[in-house]
């Protein structure tokens, strides 16, 4: 069987429908099948990445219609890189959550697993689709799964967070649709490559208005200030693997969509500055809000928003080095923030409330988990020898190349804020006097494997970044080479 990009989407869809049936056969099917599917996605990623390294990019056409008319899935080094990252992280998150809440009833766990899988599949769909309307559809798939998962726990304020998310998400879909309408009226196409090709002929005002709708709609997905009011609530109320997925998968897809639209479809001046400024503002506000959080997951959520802000800054700078740094940071942030959510989840699990102040001395109870959390915190701040260092390094380096001195100073000052609250938590975990009884919930084996593999990645890449850098490099090149993208898609097949 030849593996093609559509397997990314077909496999989870089939599985999603099959799981309710399979649970009738064996009650653990709901847990295992998503794992198999996600692992299959990992395999797909590797095969496709190998293929595009050898033969160049893939553009798969669905239902036999040719590129501009039909729906197509595109795997360039750029989208391939992101899709691989998302599927690998998705698999690891599944592994972590494999024995997640064994106390849950079978029906609930079934929905959880299906929604989780659909969210990851939808994110991959966002990344690999070459069609702007399919982008919309996939965003909605991710959205609906995400809303439901946010409200997954009846006992928490999940419904409230879910409703807010849904409300904001509704705006996002409305504006996205408006943007699509405008683009469609002006270019008569929904294919991104063709839109990009025809974009120069579009009247300037129309172009800008369409762009603004896209920026707002996708900015919501990419957690850009001031459109990110939903994010802290959703992150903090969702089940932890879902929070990790939000950080590692959904936000990546959101940023991808924004960047794809801005970089490939439009050719408007000033949008880079917009990204840079809004990225910086997002980062600043998010970190400022994070510093006095009392709830661990909420703090991590704000931190995620801050990191996404940094990614947007880097995309705003727009040089090759900056894009490289941004892609590297997206990877790092996915990995590290997943690790932090995973470890943080065990803290929360053992403290009954999600408050930071009840983490005092939890090191005694959960030494390994605490160790990993500390490692993740240091890595996220950007300390060497962890992977986070390199991404921040390249982003700042690229900012320096463009001589944005105040931007650099600003980013670094914000990093100081970030460092303050992370290290306060680390200090609490390791050094404050412990309270309460010994741990009742030790991490399970699968969770340890998942977390350790992330930690290992952080250290190995931190010490020897060359392992991953060529891939990111080619991804960055692929993103920036717009004409090649257009030409390839329109001429392929």
């Amino acid at each position: 069987m030849v593996i093609t990009p559509v397997h990314y989407i077909i496999a989870p869809l089939i599985a999603a429908f099959a799981i309710p049936l399979l649970t009738k056969i064996h009650k653990d099917a709901a847990r295992v099948v998503p794992g198999i599917v996600l692992f299959y996605n990992v395999i797909v990623s590797f095969v496709l990445m190998k293929h595009i390294r050898e033969h160049g990019m893939i553009s798969e056409v669905l239902a036999g219609w040719q590129a501009p008319w039909g729906i197509n899935l595109v795997v360039t080094p750029f989208t391939g890189y992101l899709a691989s990252m998302v599927s690998i992280l998705g698999f690891i998150i599944w592994l972590y959550g494999f024995r997640f809440k064994r106390t849950l009833k079978g029906g609930e766990i079934k929905f959880y697993e299906i929604l989780q899988m659909m969210m990851i599949a939808g994110s991959i769909g966002i990344i690999i689709t070459g069609d702007i309307f399919n982008l919309f559809v996939f965003i909605e798939i991710v959205g609906i799964s995400a809303f439901s998962l946010t409200a997954f726990y009846r006992s928490r304020d999940g419904a409230e967070a879910g409703f807010k998310y849904l409300l904001i998400g509704g705006f996002a879909s409305a504006f996205l649709l408006l943007g699509i309408i405008i683009i469609y009226t002006q270019t008569g196409s929904l294919n991104m490559a063709q839109i990009a090709e025809r974009m120069p002929d579009v009247p300037q005002q129309m172009k800008i208005i369409a762009l603004i709708f896209f920026l707002v709609a996708l900015g919501i997905e990419a957690e850009m200030f001031p459109l990110n009011g939903w994010a802290p609530d959703a992150y903090s109320q969702a089940p932890t693997p879902t929070s990790a997925t939000f950080a590692a998968v959904v936000s990546v897809a959101g940023v991808y969509a924004l960047i794809r639209v801005v970089y490939t479809m439009f050719d408007v001046e000033g949008v880079n500055n917009y990204l840079m400024i809004m990225g910086f503002v997002s980062m600043l506000i998010a970190e400022i809000a994070a510093i006095s959080q009392k709830n661990l997951k909420r703090m991590l959520a704000y931190s995620s928003m801050g990191q996404i802000g940094l990614v947007l800054i880097a995309f705003g700078i727009g040089s090759k080095l900056a894009v490289f740094g941004a892609l590297f940071l997206m990877l790092n942030h996915g990995v590290i923030k997943s690790l932090l959510f995973m470890t943080g989840s065990y803290f929360i699990y053992n403290t009954e409330d999600k408050k930071i102040k009840s983490l005092n001395g939890i090191y005694k109870k959960l030494p390994f988990v605490s160790f990993l959390f500390g490692l993740g915190a240091l890595a996220l701040i950007g300390f060497p020898p962890f992977s986070g260092f390199w991404s921040k390094f390249y982003i700042l380096m690229s900012a320096a190349d463009e001589k944005y001195i105040f931007l650099i100073i600003g980013i670094l000052l914000v990093t100081v804020i970030e460092l303050t609250y992370y290290l306060r938590v680390v200090g609490r975990i390791f050094f404050a006097k412990e309270e309460g009884e010994p741990a009742s919930h030790k991490p399970s084996v699968n969770a340890i494997i998942a977390m350790s593999s992330l930690a290992l990645f952080i250290i190995v890449i931190g010490v020897y970044p060359d392992l991953i850098m060529p891939h990111i490099q080619s991804a960055a090149e692929a993103l920036l080479d717009k004409s090649n993208y257009i030409q390839q898609i329109l001429s392929l097949n």
Partner: protein, 616 residues
């Protein structure tokens, strides 16, 4: 594999190894750490000679590691002191919790420091600098149970600001001079204040914060005092010297590559910052009641001298700074070990609670005495040499007459806290509370004694330190550095013959010791410290004979204006205000979904209204 990479790998693996040894057997953790660093030091000093270089590529960057005489000079401090501190640490840390954590971070810190000095490109420098910073942060908060929020974090925030300032400078060196190699940057004049002035300023900020220079010194005293003493030995002795290392590099290259007369203000500002640091450190040291805090402030003051020395940019001044760097590491290392020994044996270093330990801890006292004499700069011990060089450099070469008085004031006032330290811990009334105190174990005494011996020998033969220091200076661009084995000469030709002085003092000491002390010792009997005369009246049982509180109150009163300017409070207020400000901004997230929706619409409208401004 390159030998230097192997060394760093040994330390890295050793760090984890120690961590895991701890989970098997707590007794061996300290020994393992000690052996690892000892082996590293052994390999380093035998296999790597100055001039060694190793080029490689990582992450698309050309990196270079290597050793010049200058960096080798600092390696002596780092590895030498680390080995001694770890030997000391074995017993000092015995019985404490989280040993694996402690030693693991300790070795990582050593790795970081070693990395900093072997880095010959800025990326590695920053890389290791950060490792050093966070590893030491973990050690700083090791003891700070309830004060994490204020004490430990303060260190980290300052360090991070410093490191990031440095980083900013580095990226701009890359942009403006298209190089990441330190040597190339120097050759291209990157450290000059002429062209891109923010580069050297940011670099100096980064290094200066690590060296606890004036307005940024507030992190140092609590950090030094709160860390475990075996680590503070390294922290104050070696790690603060990393700042000196950097400032020396930046400054000398700046002075030597340009006409110093044009940059009078640069040297003046830096010199005065060092001078004020020295004064502030000293006057705050002498009002402390905790011996550790006293030493911590004293470290700040001593680093001020070093900065003053570097700021002169003259041969004698830089020599003074380099010499002081070593001798400060030696005597302050010993003193922190003394404080640690007292803490370990007596349970506290609060001088209002313990006193009169001299008869219980005689060896520790001797070490303390020798180190304090060296610290006070009284001949014939090593400290005097540093003071001499510094004054002579300021008077004869740098013509900075008021600054020299400031430095002198600081160093005279240092007599006060020197005495306070000895008196507070070892002299004075023998209280009941300290009756159980015993001498520290041998593995703690030995490293202290080694350091005390070095401090003593350096007094008579400072040439032993001058030799590598001179080489180091030549490595950073000074030409024909002259030095003598045991005498000091300034540019006016005035000499001080240290060997002669030491011999004279030694001879007089022997004679008077034999004829006075030995006799006295034989013929007298010891009576307790309660048996004293108070103007003819015998003190009553209940009478308080301990004088430890407000020891220098008269001086405090006299120097009251100096105590008014409290940097600590200024920074604290700044922090508080910032957090309040942040708290205000946080309110943007009102929690009401409708408000968020409103934000979106408003944002959309604003974008639509200003679309012509934003996009084109």
């Amino acid at each position: 594999m390159e030998i230097i990479a192997i060394i760093l790998l040994i330390l890295l693996v050793g760090s984890f190894l120690t961590y895991f040894v701890d989970s098997f057997n707590k007794k061996w953790t300290g020994t393992t750490a000690f052996l690892i660093v000892l082996i590293t030091a052994g390999i380093f000093f035998t296999k790597i000679k100055s001039g060694y270089q190793f080029n490689f590529q990582l992450a698309g960057l050309d990196l270079q590691w290597g050793l010049t005489d200058y960096s080798y000079y600092f390696v002596y401090i780092i590895l030498g002191l680390s080995v001694l501190a770890l030997l000391y640490s074995i017993k000092y840390m015995e019985g404490k919790a989280r040993l694996g954590y402690f030693y693991g971070s300790f070795i990582l810190t050593v790795l970081g420091m070693l990395g900093v000095v072997i880095s010959q490109d800025f990326v590695s420098l920053f890389f290791f600098w950060e490792i050093m910073t966070w590893a030491s942060f973990l050690l700083v908060i090791y003891n700070a149970y309830y004060k994490i929020k204020t004490k430990g974090i303060k260190y980290m925030i300052f360090s991070a600001v410093g490191a990031y300032a440095m980083f900013t400078a580095i990226v701009f060196i890359h942009v403006h001079y298209d190089t990441l190699l330190i040597s190339e940057a120097i050759a291209k004049g990157a450290f000059n204040f002429e062209q891109y002035i923010y580069i050297p300023i940011f670099l100096l900020l980064g290094f200066g914060i690590k060296a606890a220079v004036m307005p940024f010194h507030v992190w140092a005293p609590p950090a030094y005092a709160k860390s475990p003493m075996s680590f503070t030995t390294i922290f104050s002795g070696a790690m603060s010297k990393m700042g000196v290392f950097g400032i020396g590099l930046v400054f000398t290259s700046f002075y030597l590559s340009s006409n110093p007369e044009n940059f009078f203000w640069v040297r003046t500002i830096l010199g005065w910052m060092g001078g004020i640091t020295a004064v502030m450190g000293t006057i705050y040291a002498l009002i402390q009641t905790d011996a550790k805090k006293l030493l911590a402030y004293s470290s700040v003051a001593q680093l001020g001298y070093i900065i003053v020395g570097l700021s002169t940019g003259t041969q004698l001044g830089v020599m003074a700074a380099l010499y002081l760097a070593v001798i400060h590491a030696v005597f302050k290392g010993a003193l922190f070990m003394v404080a640690g020994a007292v803490e370990k044996q007596a349970g506290t270093t609060d001088m209002t609670q313990i006193s009169g330990l001299i008869r219980k801890m005689p060896y520790t006292f001797v070490v303390a005495l020798v180190s304090i004499i060296a610290l006070a700069g009284v001949p014939p011990l090593g400290g005097f040499v540093g003071k001499w060089l510094l004054y002579e450099a300021l008077i004869t070469e740098s013509n900075n007459y008021i600054l020299v008085v400031v430095v002198f004031f600081s160093s005279t006032a240092a007599f006060m806290y020197s005495y306070r330290f000895l008196f507070g811990l070892f002299l004075g009334q023998e209280e009941k509370e300290t009756e159980h105190v015993k001498e520290a174990p041998a593995t703690m005494i030995i490293p202290m004694i080694i350091l005390a011996i070095i401090a003593t020998v350096a007094g008579a033969y400072p040439g032993l330190i001058f030799e590598p220091a001179a080489k180091a200076m030549q490595a950073i661009g000074f030409q024909d550095v002259t030095w003598q084995m045991s005498s000091l000469t300034n540019v006016w030709g005035d000499t001080t013959d240290l060997f002669l002085i030491a011999m004279l003092i030694f001879a007089v000491f022997i004679i008077s010791f034999v004829f006075l002390t030995l006799k006295g010792l034989k013929k007298t009997r010891y009576v307790g410290t309660k048996d004293i005369s108070t103007s003819g009246e015998l003190p009553k049982e209940w009478e308080n004979l301990t004088f430890q509180l407000d020891f220098f109150k008269p001086f405090e009163r006299a120097a009251a204006p100096l105590y008014k300017m409290d940097m600590n409070k200024i920074w604290k207020d700044l922090g508080k205000n910032l957090e309040a400000f942040f708290g205000f901004f946080r309110k943007i997230y009102t929690g009401n979904g409708q408000t968020y929706a409103l934000y979106i619409v408003i944002f959309l409208v604003v974008l639509l209204l200003f679309r012509d401004v934003l996009f084109s």
